[in-house]
Amino acid sequence: MKTPWYEKTAKEIRDAVHQGEASALDIVNSFIEHADAVDGTVGAYTQRWSETARTAAQRIDEKIRKGLPAGALAGVPVALKESICTSEGKTTGASKMLADYRSPFDATAVTRLQQADAVFLGKVNMDELGLGSSTETSALQRTTNPWAPDRVPGGSSGGSAAAVASGTCALALGTDTGSSIRQPASFCGCIGFKPTYGRISRLGIIGIASSLDHVGPLARTVEDTALALNVLCGEDKGDPTSSDRPVPDFTRSLGRDIRGLRIGVPKEYLASDLDAEVRQYVEKALDQFRNAGAEIVSISLPCTGYDAAAYTVISTAEMSAGLARLDGVRYGARHPEAKSVPDVYVMSKSAGLGTEVQRRIILGTYFLSGKNRQDYFVKAQQVRTVVKKDFQNAFEQCDIIAGATTATAAFPFGSKSDNPLEMYACDQFTVAANLASHPALSIPCGKTAAGLPIGLHLQARSYDEETLLGAAFYYEQHRGFEMGFPSIL
């Protein structure tokens, strides 16, 4: 039987459209029908834009028929996280507060994808405003892990990862403040890429902690990730934090010889409470790199452990300031019984924002109040400098830092909801890349005996996405297994 389009990569889809071997409309319809069949079980999509997707596909087919140039992602079906502003549909951040919010404009990342002729199939679920690691804090719906319906998909970009893994889109956009692209990618068995801070514009993203927020792609192959990065990266005058460094053609880093590549393994990562199966598959991946001629170097990251503490303080402090804008005055759900301005604030926020959001805002307010500002917030910012220096030192001894993305595979629903510290610990290996701004990705490196995906976390120097993609591509080609699609579908 011929492989259905929804099982093909973005690269295969793009090439087929460019060469006129398939119509974008047929491809988009294949994904829509597949989503009709499986997304009732997965629950990744919060909005389906099937009709506008078909219209967009027809426009691309028209371009091809007329011999006009088509974009680098022509006909590639994409899902967008609920926190990414689109003039189409709603942008809710999976929060009751923004349940009816309609953005007046598209995020720059969305515009860039559209200019590359990608086709949007809709929006996907997330933890409320990006605060969570399981997509359980969404005010919209439950999203399940496509590999195991009793397990969470991770978060906060859980809908993005679940959609990519279940083949209901070829690419997805997510955001990552501490782990939110890489941890769900690890749990769902796809690739999640957080670029260097500033590589991708954040204009039009519902931000939560400006100094830590990133946008990035989730995909099924490293090559698709590189194609997406080629489109997404680059300076945006609308985002002053976006980088003005030149953007290379990331696909050229694929197929690089990795002989002599130095892969650093922090002794602190292996000393931590890794699940035995996770450890086994990460070590197997390191063996594969070693056998390919890479040099495995034992390194030390003394900041391991206190990076997560600094992250907790900085992220919640920034959230408490930034999320004050969700007050029901200019937009958002104003409480219908509010009779005074203080009522508007207190009643609207108390009713419109969920428990996790409230907890983190209150915690952040605590860190910014009075003497705590110096004791916690400034202290954490100083520790952030120490974390950056630790990584600078480590990257003098190696080109890539490798470890597990998460200490365990996907956990069951409800198992961590009552313990914020346990939930925050999901980020222990990933937050450092947000604090230090360097690029990092998660790539599947195996499955547990129970069939749950395990993620390998690779990190590289700031702006050296190419080395990261080169190493990941080599690993993907030689890891000796295909991730495939979940059997429940």
């Binding site: 009816d100 400006s210 002053p240 301005v341 100083q382 520790v383 701004s437």
Partner: protein, 101 residues
């Protein structure tokens, strides 16, 4: 490092414009104290004479060209507003006094 009481949590909740019910206040007090215990680890890091890192970007003084751009039309500005008169966002009266509506 200190612990917070339920009264403290109420204080920080009110600074953040939240009203907590009894259960949530109790729950937050317990959880936030657990988090504060975890954060003690920060004190082990010697940060004497270390400058804080305040942002992720390495850019300084990024300016946009000083040109007038089209603003959002009023209809777009107000399409998400809970209450407005087409020109202003409306909120309940702030200053008590003569009704001049």
């Amino acid at each position: 490092m200190e612990h917070v009481t339920e009264q403290d949590i109420d204080h920080y909740a009110s600074l953040s414009q939240f009203q907590l019910n009894d259960d949530t206040r109790k729950r937050f007090t317990k959880e936030i104290n657990q988090i504060l215990d975890f954060l003690q680890i920060l004190q082990k890091v010697d940060t004497e004479s270390i400058a804080p890192t305040r942002h992720g970007t390495d850019r300084v003084n990024v300016f946009r060209d000083d040109v007038i751009q089209d603003p959002l039309p009023h209809a777009e500005v107000f399409k998400n507003s809970p209450l407005d008169d087409g020109v202003f966002f409306l909120v309940p009266r702030i200053i008590e006094g003569e009704d001049n509506s």
